[in-house]
Subunit: 764 residues, 2 copies
């Protein structure tokens, strides 16, 4: 595997212009601020292959789905994150010749994404007709300080001539989604205005009626910031489009700067009445305050994020770059400012998977935010599901469940299901357990039981009710069985008694009983009959197991398969999902992603090390890891079992997945949620950190080339600073409350402000 771009600890760097890599680069260099974001498209016109994409968090469209045949209960639409107003546009003509990198000679090209600062920069020289040479240096950012602001500094220098330049500074909301099912246009104009050095478009989405207002202002400067130039642009507008045209004679060797300020406001944060106004006010304030002030505030915000979220890996620049890339994109996608938003699998970097919410959020992203940010961030993600509880109850109702049973959708924007494969929509119901588990994990990290009392228990009970009804009594087994499910391993569909689903469902019901017991004095939200039923289920759940071993069976019938390990498969049949028909995959033994091992991961402390080892050793040889979410869990479990080679080799499969474009698909967007998995494999795998009822445990196992890991983590409202080498762990409690933990198996308690260094006792 070759690196797609240069290795640098804080930057992604591209040193030459390669049209073949352009769409991949647009994904990798994408910027966002949790509220909106954009692929790294060029400001100036570009006629080469490109996926032009700007996305606004939470703004979606219910695109009518296409299926050949319908089953009763299928959703009729698939929610799509919407490609929205292109706000970066600055077209440049020099002496009548359009500067378009697909059409002119590119003499030099440098692009960097500065992850420390959250800034995308491009510096390039082009050769135009008559050997005219022009240098352009563009810088842009989506403000982490003000979630509705972005700014661009576009510097241009005629190198060997003086000449007439024409700039078109515009906003263009005439955009479609590449993945639209019926090539439909999703926007209608609400209003537009254009004036001297400014413009605004307010556009409404069809059906969902989100209003998004995009406003711009700009100024033009000579010699960097020295002298603001008086300009007299002409302007024009048409449906969903506003533009200023500015003509100017630029002098040889002088740098001119166009500063474009943009505000993106929407009805996610504003009323329909005030959205346009908000965009105009915001952009005016930004314009008046100036680029440098915005830039400084933006930098400070990133500095603040990095202060608790960064991981330093001593001894491995490539891994260092990769983990920062992951942390950077996770925070560009979600900041926790708004409970209406969630984390789409591709964030603001592409259209696939519709920008919608999956169980990835609970299984991968919440653990990340719980440790790297104030607990408010994870709490917002829990509130998102709480706010959709009624919809989850409706959803369960469509499947025949009653009395407050809740089934959260597989894929959603607003709480409704919007995925239409029956084996997923109706059957991959284990997602429900991850949502309850996230509440538990949240309290482990935060001890915020007040959240549970006020909100969480409603969600927990709805989920437990669903499970209690979804199990049915088998007369043959004299036990509760769960028929017709799809586990996390989507290479099995409609199986009976998936161990993971049964185990997790049983745990949810127990968790509901425990939670209600904890808040008994507030009055139980469960009826006596429910409590009785819950207890009967918990005591009688069928959990398939392989005779005379500790192996939990992925599902009934698993042992009837041909048990040929992945290592014996021919390389030219991989990935299986590209070479094998679906039935062949289904009846094969091969596992797409951790399934039994997902349960071992979630409930690790329920099992003995021997049980964990036997299951890992049984399932790992059959696992093809054809989901980006798979290797991280295997890495964590291998680390737990002390298998450094496997822990590291699994980690390597995810760490640079996008940066090195392992699967030749990064052009479509980044794998945002699996980035959190990579982070987990460092913090839980290599650093060996666990958060349990009793406190924190740390037992690291570092790859040989990693000298140490330095990072911060939040734990029960204290920020801890950790320095972790394989045999020495140093911790500073930067908070005020004492923290209990176990390091290398030794209990310690660390007062606020205290530092403790522990050393592994090595046996000869």
């Amino acid at each position: 595997m070759q690196n797609l771009f240069e290795i640098d600890e804080w930057k992604i760097i591209q040193n030459n212009f390669d049209p073949e890599k352009q769409e991949a680069a647009e994904s990798i260099f994408a910027i966002g601020n949790g509220s909106f974001g954009q692929r790294a498209n060029f400001e100036e016109q570009y006629s080469g292959e490109s996926l032009q994409g700007s996305y606004v968090g939470g703004v979606y469209y219910p695109d009518k789905t296409r299926v050949g045949w319908w089953k009763n209960g299928y959703p009729e639409y698939f929610a799509k994150v919407l490609n929205s107003c292109n706000w970066i546009g600055i077209k440049v003509k020099c002496e009548g010749q359009e500067i378009d990198l697909a059409k002119v000679t590119v003499k030099s090209f440098y692009r960097e994404l500065d992850m420390k600062r959250g800034v995308l920069e491009r510096r390039f020289r082009v050769l135009l007709d008559n050997d005219r040479e022009v240098e352009i240096h563009s810088t842009r950012f989506c403000s982490m300080d003000n979630e509705e602001i972005a700014a661009i500094s576009y510097k241009i220098t005629p190198i060997n001539f003086s000449g007439n330049f024409r700039f078109k500074v515009y906003l263009d909301n005439n955009v479609t989604n590449q993945d639209s099912n019926y090539e439909e246009f999703f926007w209608t104009e609400d209003s537009r205005k254009v004036g001297v050095k400014k413009g605004v478009i307010s556009a409404k989405t069809k059906k969902t009626e989100f209003l998004v207002s995009t406003a711009m202002r700009y100024s033009f400067w000579k010699s960097g910031d020295e002298e603001q130039l008086e300009i007299h642009p002409s302007f024009k507008d048409s449906e969903l489009y506003v533009e200023n045209t500015l003509e100017y004679r630029l002098e040889q060797g002088t740098e001119y700067t166009l500063k474009k300020y943009v505000s993106v406001a929407s009805t996610i944060n504003h009323s329909d009445f005030s959205t346009t106004n908000a965009a105009i006010n915001n952009v005016t304030e930004a314009y008046l305050g100036g680029y440098d002030a915005l830039y400084d505030a933006h930098l400070k915000a990133w500095e603040n994020i990095w202060s608790s979220a960064d991981i330093q890996i001593d001894g491995d620049a490539s891994a260092q770059q990769a983990i920062r890339f992951n942390i950077f994109h996770l925070y560009q996608t979600y900041t926790g400012k708004n409970a209406k938003l969630n984390i789409g699998p591709k964030g603001f970097t592409g259209e696939k998977y519709g920008g919608a919410t999956y169980w990835d959020t609970e299984a991968y992203c919440i653990p990340f935010f719980l440790k790297t940010a104030d607990s408010k961030v994870a709490r917002q993600l829990l509130m998102y599901r709480f706010n959709q509880l009624d919809r989850a109850i409706e959803n369960a109702g469509k499947l025949g469940f009653t009395d407050g049973a809740a089934l959260y959708p597989m894929v959603t924007m607003n709480g409704e299901e919007c995925h239409n494969e029956w084996e997923i929509t109706f059957e991959e119901i284990h997602r429900n357990a991850a949502i309850a588990y996230a509440i538990h994990n949240y309290t482990l990290h935060t001890q915020d039981f007040e959240y549970v009392r006020m909100y969480g228990r409603h969600v927990i009970n709805g989920i437990a009710r669903f499970w209690a009804q979804r199990f049915n009594w088998s007369g043959a087994k004299e036990a509760y069985v769960m028929l017709g499910v799809t586990g996390p391993n989507e290479y099995e569909n409609n199986v009976n008694n998936n161990w993971y689903t049964n185990y997790a469902a049983k745990w949810c019901i127990e968790y509901a009983l425990e939670t209600e017991a904890k808040f008994a004095e507030d009055g139980s939200l469960l009826t006596d009959a429910e409590v009785e039923k819950f207890k009967h289920v918990v005591d009688n759940v069928y959990l398939p197991k392989l005779d005379n071993t500790n192996v939990f069976l992925q599902q009934e019938g698993f042992m009837d398969k041909e048990l040929i390990p992945v290592s014996e498969l021919s390389a030219d049949e991989r990935p299986l999902n590209q070479y094998w028909s679906w039935d062949r995959i289904l009846r094969s033994v091969y596992i797409k992603q951790a399934d039994v091992l997902q349960g071992i991961y979630f409930f690790e402390n329920h099992f003995t090390e021997e049980e964990i080892r036997e299951n890992y050793e049984f399932y790992e040889p059959f696992t093809v890891h054809e989901s980006s979410l798979s290797p991280c869990l295997h890495s964590i479990i291998a680390a737990k079992l002390g298998d450094k080679d496997q822990a590291y080799s699994h980690y390597l499969r995810t760490s640079r997945l996008d940066l090195d474009d392992y699967n030749s698909e990064v052009a479509e967007g980044l794998h945002i949620t699996s980035m959190a998995g990579t982070w987990m494999s460092i913090v839980e795998g290599m650093a060996g950190i666990r958060v349990l009822e009793d406190g924190l445990t740390i037992d690291p196992l570092l790859p040989d080339q990693w000298k140490a890991l330095n990072f911060h983590m939040y734990f029960r409202n204290n920020l801890l600073q950790l320095s972790i080498a394989e045999n020495e762990v140093s911790i500073k409690n930067e908070g005020t409350a004492p923290v209990k933990m176990s390091v290398f198996g030794k209990e310690i308690e660390l007062e606020g402000g205290a530092v403790s260094t522990s050393t592994r006792v090595l046996t000869a």
Copy 2:
């Protein structure tokens, strides 16, 4: 359930005009001749709700399928039977007023479908402006004698006035399919010509490039056939459209007749070069021969069909009408003249299911044609599959099978799969067994082993190879298992060890071994290794069974379900497929159509009566019969078990399914293939006829109101005439060879020309 139309033993009669019933009537009164057919649309303009539909056998279009998500191996298109040239059109204006039954006052209306003669007739009076009254009497048929000819006699009488009439006689190929996925237009014009009293359009289908030429001629007569009138029509044409306009003053009280002759020729029967010519020559010959000659030849052809295919039911006019309706439509759909054609589930009466071939043909239609027609008819249906063997081998290859393994598609037009639900396309593979079984059934009826030697064994071996590879060895069970299949009961998907599939697959492999042994002197088509493998599989197939009973388990895990009988389901949840989500249906015990019982039906003589009874009594209470193909098999098995009530009540569920529109869906077209099932429930169920290696057995069980069944059947090249009462069976061998049979358990041999009457020995 009310009868939709009048009861008559040979006719379907509609006595008044009901626009609400028009689309249903268009299906029920549809006519065809095995080569082409048309819904009972009106000749004159009709602006009310109508599904205008003309279809040409074998002419299809690969319409791109719409699915939300793709699995590897999905077909990209779904073959559609094409709505083709509207050839019935005769628009009539009287004194400038269009006669359109949706717009004028209909004073009286009578429509009949004469099933004995294959003629559709309409007689109606309309009241126009100024109280002008007009009577119209139209008759049309698709010639059973000449499969490329149709004719219309359109008689018109001004009752109370003389006035100017204008007739537009036209062909219109500007037609689309109602079920087109992308509202695509499927036809392009190849050529057109129009002249005095004639016209022709040749149109090509996109992609598939079938050429269909439709030619017309017509004449105009006074006082019935007395005087042919000299006319001077004007004519016009436009893309895919030709028209003659004829103006004439009609005298009060006089009947005028427009005789329209049509020929439909296509590249199914002709070369691309000669198709247009063939249509012109045909129609000219028809025109010159005249309407009466065509009509007589057509009648004679139907007379011939009925002479061997009719069933007379003494004592039940409703059942009598129903069975003739079924026989009539089956022969309108398929005549066996052409091995390129097959039997679409809706024949020429609608668009749904694409007019394509399903396993319905082998399981239901071949038994019908084997007994009611010369063996050539069924042989054509076998040849259809033989001719598609290479495609079936390709299809199996897509699923990873090798060395000549053949998997016939679930749905096809040309041998390629064109269905796109993975659980059906990839997993409902039991269809393969029905195709081998049909060859066996053919030889039972015909003793034509030469067919097997020349063609059949290639198909049998391909199918057996598939099964031998599709089983896999289970180390856990020490047996061959079959994982991930869908049985005939499509309310279970992706199950392991479906008893029916395993049993039928095992039988196919045995059948291949036996067949190859039979032709050993020609040299085996199987390698020694294949023979060895086949034997090992046959000896070790896992067949799930319920402990301590004779019940064969539908699939593994069946007994874990909630075993609540259908009788306890609430009526307002039925049919389940309209009220329950798919996952709920899947995990429930409810059976859409005979599954284990399909095996009991096919291989009845492999099982003891006790085994049959136990399985019937176990499964019947869980069967919801939500497929039109289900009750007939239960009826046959119930009759076998002597349960007259169940045999009759199941029979009633199918016998008038379309005639009385049980499921409010007849507007979409008729259930042609399930009509064969109804026929089976009379001949195999009530009449108790079996065709076995040793000969024929007869053991009837008639519903109380049925006094006797009189019908013919072919058996080993002899036509038998049977008269069957419950306790007395009389048989005449109209053939020349002796026939062995067992009637009421007593062996008899009947010489050619002989008659034998047997009586049941009743025990007191």
